[in-house]
């Protein structure tokens, strides 16, 4: 299967390792990966902050870039939820029938990384080896908007050498929330301190997740507090093998 990677803007710039890991996993599973280099951003930051005309421009750009793509994989549940929750409404509001049609056509072909593996490719064992103590942060968009359920956990449970620790109060937001983290920095930090306390209580050495946005926020605090606990995207764990070590 030819899988088109939508890396997302912040993974592209800040977390290239996650993108490389997605490519590694999908190629290892026997699929071809393409990267359409004209891609930029889904528009979530603009949309959620209230800059809707700018977000519609980015939506149009996304559709142009991914026209005709068979399967689109995105290693960020929050960007996928932006598309599923808001693209139809944005298109409807534009009143442009072509835009509405394009959105309807593209959405069923967009998969979050763990959805792609478990639902589309029927994989729960990606053949990984990762001898670490790991806990998993289910981001709010993955949990409530996409309804990922235990898909990421199924994938982690089948990683050899990995011990999975349940995260207490897993349904509580970590406090990232995009521009919320800077516009309401104090509340965001208070929410984050609750999250890091829960993570540290598990004794895990790695906090994984499906969204580098939450992980950047959580990892930033774990690093500032010198906890020695690292935040690592799910794809990077699944990409790890004994041979690659």
């Amino acid at each position: 299967m030819l899988i088109s990677l939508f890396i997302t803007c912040y993974n592209d710039a800040l977390f290239p390792e996650t993108g490389k890991a997605v490519v590694t996993v999908l190629e290892r599973l026997g699929h071809a990966v393409e990267f359409r280099s004209a891609q930029t951003c889904c528009g979530q930051m603009h949309y959620n902050t209230g800059y809707h005309p700018e977000a519609v421009d980015l939506l149009r750009h996304f559709l142009e870039v991914f026209a005709g793509a068979e399967v689109i994989c995105c290693p960020s549940s929050s960007c996928v939820s932006m598309m599923r929750d808001h693209y139809p409404k944005m298109a409807a509001e534009s009143g442009d029938p072509e835009l509405i049609r394009q959105v309807q056509e593209v959405l069923p072909r967009v998969y979050e990384f763990s959805e792609l593996l478990v639902d589309k490719l029927g994989i729960t064992d990606a053949g990984a080896f990762y001898p670490h103590q790991v806990t998993f942060h289910t981001s709010c968009h993955g949990l409530r908007s996409l309804g990922l359920g235990d898909k990421p956990l199924q994938l982690l449970r089948n990683v050899r050498g990995l011990t999975l620790h349940e995260l207490p109060q897993a349904d509580q937001c970590c406090g990232f929330g995009g521009t919320f983290a800077v516009k309401n920095a104090d509340v965001s930090a208070a929410m984050l301190s609750d999250k890091t306390q829960c993570i540290l209580s598990t004794k895990a050495e790695i906090c994984s997740g499906g969204d580098n946005s939450c992980l950047m926020h959580i990892g930033g605090a774990l690093s500032r507090q010198r906890t020695g606990v690292k935040a690592v995207h799910l794809a990077e764990i699944l990409a790890a093998t004994e041979k690659a070590r």
């Binding site: 993108g19 209230g50 929330g177 509340v187």
Partner: protein, 474 residues
Amino acid sequence: MSVRVGEAAEALPFPEAAKKMVANSQLRRNVRHATDVIRNKRGKVVGEKEDWQELRAAGNAIKRHTLRHLDYYLQQFEENCTKAGGHVHWAKDADEANRIIVDILAKRAEKEVIKVKTMTSDETRLNVALEKAGITPVETDLADMIVQLGEDKPSHIVVPALHRNRMEIREIFLKKMGLETLGYEPQDLAGAARTYLRERFLRVTAGISGANYLVAETGSVCVVESEGNGRMCLSLPDILVTLAGVEKVIPRFEDMEVFLQLLPRSATGERMNPYNSIWTGVTPGDGPREFHVVLMDNGRTKVLADEEARDTLDCIRCGACLNACPVYRQTGGHAYGSVYGGPIGAILTPQLQSMEHSQTLPYASSLCGACYEVCPVKINIPEILIHLRAKVVENGDSPFSERLAMKGAAFAMANAGRLGVAHLFARLGQSVFEKDGKLEDLPGLLGGWTAFRDMSALPDQSFRDWWEKREAGR
């Protein structure tokens, strides 16, 4: 018409108010404990209802239908309530509502009035208007009484003294009830409150209530509560005045079947409210001799006019979204500067005020969706928050630095060529701040980030650069 929502027009911006609350560790502990207790109870009693999702859908459908035909049902209510011996008054805003109520009580030379919990009267600041007219309001809901005696403000729409713990309440009672001694146990505090209130229930001849539901087909009013103080206020006085927002009307008596299940389970984690009082006009020989209802707009019809946000009026004031909200759980209700706190307050207050004040409230959310998940009438609060944010931006009320950053980002994201150049500039810019691959102290907007967390520096190679190299090498 001037709309007032408590003192929200004079409130601090949310981030500033929240900063103070977050620094108050006692308050955070109190709010955390109380919301945890209610959340757990709610989870249990909601979980045992197999048809919970169907009930939510029904509640949503009834509310939507009613609000689309609000004029019809309000007039039907007026007609039927009047037929049953009640007097119906219409108030366009808070001041008019207060004036009507004060006039009714002043005409009878009432000097005191007992009140059963009504958030709407906090919205209009009715107590201030009553005191000005020489009428002493007595809050009889335990939590409202704590707030009133403590000269405090409500911090939650269902449990307004949730920010106080037992020791703080004991101090307030000792001081304000003129007691020599008072025990520390909940039953000691409840006993003191009971003695204090009982005397007033028996003495005062006028009562004020809010309304949970106004039933159009019968002209009935329904108030639900847990302490029995409401039943006292609704049945003992000679005269009763009910203040209700126009959105409280429901079409049929049997519609209460849905709401009397949704509300208690969502609000207090009870299967049913201990007291469900329903009355229709006046009944000779039973209850108040004189009954008035004040139907108040105070900005609600303007909310109704906004197609994308009108679902805000579906709210049945259960407070489940407050208890579920990770922001509210850190700050408590006072940070929202309004009688309506939490997620519902963040969408309701700015809308009632025509987006003139409280523009920081729509941003007081990480959009985590917990509010939408628990809402018994399925109000998509995150969607409405985003809609209101767009209004703030449209009105030109967003901060200049933010507009600049957003326009800049939109420009850079318009095509991949520009994005590549932006990566380059960002890498150059960060070199001043970088230390061991981390950024610990950034200026401007990003300072809010690095005040609490490290930021990973942009790596030398973006994903697209890596991919390009890889493809070239094939």
